[in-house]
């Protein structure tokens, strides 16, 4: 058989970026030969053609600002790589003459968005729809660039102290349609008294903003939220795609929609000043006065300060035990040291704002109550732990999580363990749920809806800045497909950068998981890791290290053997039902695992992207497939990669959910640059393949250094100047 490649590499640029990246061509004319006889599947349509296409402005570093920005986190050339991927897709569509199909696909998505934008009684309720989501789904080719920029800037902000944290909040506000927010200025804190003054001010501002957020609601609506939020959205449920009581869920999201969400967000912004290491340092030396006693506290209390906004309690440097829910009227706890124990810590009608700051020691946070450990159900809560190896153990709505509120947990140092059940670890419905861990080798353990999960009106973020971390999500609740006509085994997951709506209730929000470095392990079950479901958007990004993404958890939630056969469905850059999912990995030798409908996969008017910017990687799953009017993409730059299975880049020619040709069809891409790669489907390196239908692409190209090695290839020379 004749190998099918042409114009590899593109003409060498003498520009400043050519040494960095062989594909920093600007207006190179690239001739592509599509060799159908290389295709491994009999169902693949043979296409033999030599076409010349202008790749256009591919240079990713033309924008010096973006180059400068990109220096700080992850792969500096990631923006350009994503742009390259987008252009490769666009040119592929052009090459095959299916631009019109893709245009129909794109306009069909827009039409579906229009048709479901307001409540019409269908399962797509239109409630809680976010403008950003709407815009991204209407522009699925440009969406990855925005997703890359969003995740990169978000992580950079997390690294940038209190101003950065304020920027995180500003970004979240924008994504949640809360409006353009200007970051306030922060006063420098040079003394413990000033630090306390900042805390008082933050508490007051948060109280005022929270009150304003409820002002549009009647008392009965507030009571409805208080009574029903947690049972309806959490405890009654054992599957993730909808609620046990859907009509109640609809009623609740309608009430949440009435809340003054801008004011709720202002409550979060009021707390940004507390995320200031300098302030925290000053608090450690607060002198206090004569020891006093406070109900619910054992150990030394050096100060109890009553303010109009609530009472502030300061614990001493020895061990304290705080039973937070018995400390009535106490809105702020500051502990200066010792290995402390904190029980519970929920917000309530009488204490809607709670701030806990622990400055030192190996601490234990224990609770079985929902809405604890920097989490809130109809309230505002922030937990900051500065030092020590801490253990956070809870059940539902915990560890930077919220239901109609704000939940923030920031842990600055130590090897920490976070254990929860449902709606935990950077999870949000109707507000903000943020968990930031700045350092240490940490362990995250959840069963469902967690680790950077955004439900209706929610922005959920988990960012672990450094360390070798282990994320586990799933292993407890049987998956919802188990009773289908074609059942598949396994557990529910809905973790690790998932934005998901609830069917017949409301559209999804924004879920983000970011990891800054270290060799990390991600275990997950169904519908997890960089995915969107039901009009939501999910983002997962790991900026460094050799990471393992293990589709299907290895053990059950409680640690014993799984009762379900190892099987994982939807993961690693997936979109399912009018949704978008993005997975980026900047560096390292990584593995990506799912069983079916995974690894750059899209299903039903959806989009899934998986982009790996470097390293020798290994993929196992469906791999770059689109189905039921979907666009699924894997893009891998550099490295010797292995693609297991045989489904790479397929796009099924048939669709049963939507009408053809109106919906445009399916689109699947596997695009690999550089390295010596192995494809389970039998494709060769430096090839360009049609997969299943004209919408299916497997494109393997060399990068510049590879191209130099293969420059003697006649076809390359011949095409270079054409």
């Amino acid at each position: 058989m004749k190998s099918g490649y042409a114009c590899f590499p593109p003409p060498l640029s003498k520009g400043r970026f050519s040494v960095l990246w062989g594909l920093t061509v600007t207006t190179a004319m690239v001739a592509l030969t599509v060799m159908a006889d290389d295709e491994p599947s009999a169902t693949d349509d043979p296409v033999v053609a030599t076409e010349s296409v202008d790749t256009g402005q591919v240079n990713p570093a033309d924008d010096s600002d973006s180059e400068k920005e990109a220096e700080t986190v992850g792969e500096p050339l990631a923006p350009g790589m994503v742009e390259l991927m987008q252009q490769e897709i666009a040119k592929g569509l052009q090459l095959r003459g299916i631009n019109s199909n893709f245009s129909r696909f794109q306009s069909y998505l827009g039409g579906r968005l229009n048709a479901t934008a307001s409540h019409s009684g269908s399962e797509l309720t239109g409630y809680c729809r976010l403008k950003w989501y709407d815009r991204m789904l209407r522009s699925v080719l440009k969406a990855p660039s925005e997703a890359e920029e969003f995740t990169r800037n978000l992580h950079k902000a997390v690294l940038n102290g209190r101003e950065g944290f304020a920027e995180v909040l500003t970004t979240a506000a924008e994504k949640l349609d809360i409006g353009q927010h200007q970051q306030g200025s922060f006063a420098e804190v040079d003394s413990p008294e000033q630090a306390l003054e900042v805390i008082k001010h933050a508490l007051t501002a948060a109280q005022i903003a929270y009150a304003a957020s409820l002002a549009p609601l009647t008392k009965s609506e507030i009571q409805t939220l208080r009574t029903n939020l947690n049972p309806v959205f959490t405890t009654e449920n054992r599957v993730g795609h909808t609620l046990q009581r859907r009509s109640s869920g609809q009623q609740l999201v309608r009430v949440m929609q009435k809340m003054d969400r801008e004011s709720l967000h202002a409550a979060a912004e009021a707390l940004a000043a507390i995320a200031d290491p300098q302030l925290l340092e000053q608090l450690a030396s607060f002198p206090g006065g004569d020891p006093t006693t406070v109900e619910g506290v054992s150990g030394t209390v050096i100060a109890k300060i009553d303010t109009p906004s609530g009472t502030i309690v300061i614990g001493g440097k020895d061990r304290n035990v705080y039973r937070l829910d018995t400390m009535s009227g106490v809105n702020v706890v500051i502990d200066q040291g010792g290995n402390d124990v904190y029980y519970d810590g929920s917000v309530s009608p009488q204490r809607p704002v709670l701030i806990v700051i622990d400055l030192e020691g190996d601490d234990a946070y224990e609770s079985k109550t929902p809405g604890v450990q920097g989490s809130a159900i109809l309230g505002v809560s922030m937990l900051v732990d500065v030092e020590g190896n801490d253990v956070y153990r809870a059940q539902d709505v915990a560890q930077g999580s919220c239901l109609a509120g704000v939940g923030i947990l920031i842990d600055y140092a130590g090897n920490d363990a976070y254990v929860g059940l449902r709606r935990v670890q950077g999870q949000a419905v109707g507000g903000l749920g943020i968990l930031i861990d700045h350092a240490g080798n940490d362990r995250y353990h959840a069963a469902m809806w967690g680790q950077g999960f955004g439900g209706p009106w929610g922005f959920g973020l988990l960012d672990d800045v450094d360390g070798k971390d282990h994320y586990y999500g799933g292993g407890l609740y049987l998956n919802s497909y188990i009773n289908d006509d074609n059942p598949t085994p396994g557990y529910e997951g809905w973790v690790q950068g998932v934005g998901a709506g609830l069917r017949a209730v409301g559209d999804g929000g924004v879920g983000v998981i970011l990891d800054g470095g270290g060799d990390d392990v991600y275990e997950y079950d169904y519908l997890s890791h960089g995915g969107g479901y039901w009009c939501g958007m999910g983002f997962a990004r790991d900026f460094g290290g050799n990471d393992q993404r293990l589709g299907a958890t290895r053990v059950a939630y409680h640690g014993g053997p799984r009762t379900q056969r190892s099987f994982q469905r939807f993961s690693n850059g997936y979109g399912c039902h009018y949704a978008l999912g993005f997975l980026f990995d900047d560096r390292g030798d990584d593995t990506y695992n799912g069983t079916i409908m995974s690894v750059g996969f899209a299903w039903d008017c959806a989009v899934g992207y998986l982009c790996d910017f470097g390293g020798n990687d290994r993929y196992s799953g469906t791999e770059g497939n689109g189905a039921q009017a979907g666009l699924g993409v894997i893009f891998d730059y550099d490295g010797d990669d292995v693609y297991l299975g045989s489904g790479q880049g397929r796009a099924s020619p048939s669709i049963s959910y939507h009408d053809l040709p109106q919906c445009g069809g399916n689109f699947g891409f596997v695009i690999d640059y550089g390295g010596t790669d192995k494809y389970g489907c039998g494709a060769r390196n430096n090839g360009y393949y049609t997969r299943s239908s004209s919408g299916g692409f497997l494109i393997d190209r060399p990068k510049q250094t590879d191209a130099v090695n293969t420059a003697e290839r006649p076809v390359v020379k011949a095409a270079a100047g054409s």
């Binding site: 003054e197 001010h201 007051t204 109280q207 005022i208 929270y210 009150a211 304003a212 409820l214 002002a215 549009p216 609601l217 009647t218 008392k219 009965s220 609506e221 009553d306 303010t307 109009p308 906004s309 609530g310 009608p349 009488q350 809607p352 704002v353």
Partner: protein, 449 residues
């Protein structure tokens, strides 16, 4: 004490007519002095911290006493007894004084159209005054809104609509739990209004309400067994002044309770004065005034009105404020909708639509500010009168006429600010045309059921 009450009385009247009214109502003042002297003997002082009985309803001034004679410091019980129900005293008519043969003639005459508007406004005010909030269902914030509208005449139900009635301001100052939230706390040794959901939802909100209701600074406030007074709250608010903080409501409160030239030290050791607050407020961002965001201009406008009443000089920061407020008066009147409302109106398909709740909020707030801060000679400008009529119509015919206490805090706030606007307008424009009250002790006694 007597002197203070006299002062309150004077300040309760329109500027420029003080001396005439002194002469006309001297007998009432003397009567008040007697009553207040009696009240002194029962009113708790700061030293009497063990005393926990509820105080009498606060004294606003003779006008309110005339409107509802049941509110005098003679009353040994809270003004909430069922038998004190104002509707039983007034037969549903707007609160007016029975004409007294000895009363002087009105100083001015209203046009028939203004008389009609006056009657409508008073009917509306009375109708809403009867829609009492309750301490079981309504938060302290909502009570503060109600007290803004009806001042010392505010009545609330204790424990639901079947419960006894109590005076609204007494309820707040006596730290009665409202919807489960107690509004007061002792902080840094002084009485303070709690901040947060269910209580004071803006800093200094209670202080501003007490000021606008013209509650005496020695009116008692209780937290548990600890009885203080409004002056203690004022001191707390002075200590809490901060740079870059929103002090608009603080300014409203301190404009009433603090001598404008006074200086004080806040809890950080910084020197503050009303003038410094004015300077800070002038430096702050001002936005959406025509949409109802009027707190900042309200504070400044009220202060200037107070200074004018006190015949204090307008110079320095005060002059800057006056120039600013004058300009803003023109600005908002220029941006008034043709029907008299303020707020965003959307033109779509040739027709104009608007959100009545938003319109009520915006128009109520803007008119409230204008009614408080406009000079007398502008109060009957066509635009202002149009706004009064618009607002009255919205309130009289809108959805809030029934079951007000079940609405949201925001809606209750909008209604109450709108009612406050009408009440201030009534006081400044219509009341001077009313026959002067000439009460006798017998009249007042007779007014009691």
């Amino acid at each position: 004490m007597t002197g203070h009450v006299l002062g309150v009385y004077f300040l309760g009247h329109k500027e420029g007519t003080v001396m005439i009214r002194i002469l006309q109502t001297l007998s009432i003042c003397l009567l008040l002095a007697v009553l207040v002297s009696a009240a002194d003997s029962i009113a708790p002082s700061a030293e009497e911290t063990k005393r926990v009985e509820e105080p009498a309803a606060p004294l606003k001034g003779p006008i309110l006493l005339a409107l509802n004679p049941s509110y005098s410091n003679q009353a040994p019980e809270p003004a909430g007894d069922a038998e004190d129900a104002p509707e039983e005293q007034t037969d549903g008519a707007p609160a007016t004084e029975p004409p007294d043969a000895a009363a002087p003639q009105p100083k001015r005459t209203l046009s028939p159209a203004m008389v009609a508007l006056r009657d409508r406004v008073r009917r509306t005010l009375e109708a809403y005054r009867r829609q009492m909030l309750s301490t079981r269902d309504n938060t302290a914030t909502e009570l503060m809104h109600a007290c803004l509208a009806f001042g010392c005449n505010t009545e609330v139900y204790q424990n639901g609509s079947s419960g006894k009635k109590a005076n609204g301001i007494t309820t707040l100052c006596w730290n009665v739990s409202c919807a489960g939230y107690e509004p007061l706390v002792i902080s840094d040794g002084r009485v303070a209004a709690r901040i947060g959901y269910g209580v004071q939802e803006r800093p200094s909100q209670l202080l501003a309400v007490l000021a606008l209701a013209r509650v005496n600074s020695d009116y008692p406030m209780r937290v548990g067994e600890d009885v203080r007074n409004v002056a203690d709250l004022v001191e707390h608010e002075k200590l809490g002044c901060r740079s870059n903080a929103d002090l608009s409501l603080t300014l409203t409160g301190l404009a009433y309770y603090v001598d404008d030239d006074a200086t004080w030290t806040n809890s950080l050791g910084e020197e503050w004065s009303v003038e410094r607050i004015v300077q800070q407020e002038l430096a702050g961002e001002l936005r959406n005034v025509v949409a109802g965001e009027t707190d900042r201009v309200m504070g400044l406008g009220y202060l200037l009105s107070r200074r004018a009443t006190r015949e204090q000089p307008i110079e320095g920061q005060f002059l800057r404020a006056k120039t600013f407020i004058d300009q803003y008066h023109d600005y908002v009147l220029k941006h008034q909708n043709s029907d008299g409302s303020w707020g965003i109106r959307r033109v779509s398909g040739g027709s104009t639509t608007y959100d009545s709740a938003q319109q009520l909020h915006a128009t109520g707030r803007v008119l409230e500010w204008l009614a408080v801060s406009l000079p007398e000679d502008r109060l009957e400008d066509a635009g202002v009168v149009r706004a009064v009529a618009y607002l009255d119509n919205l309130l009289a015919n809108g959805r809030y006429r029934h079951d007000l206490n079940s609405y949201s805090t925001q809606q209750i706030g909008s209604v109450m600010h709108a009612l406050h606007a009408l009440a201030v307008y009534d006081e400044r424009v219509f009341e001077p045309s009313d026959p002067e009250p000439a009460e006798t002790p017998a009249d007042r006694q007779a007014a009691r059921p």
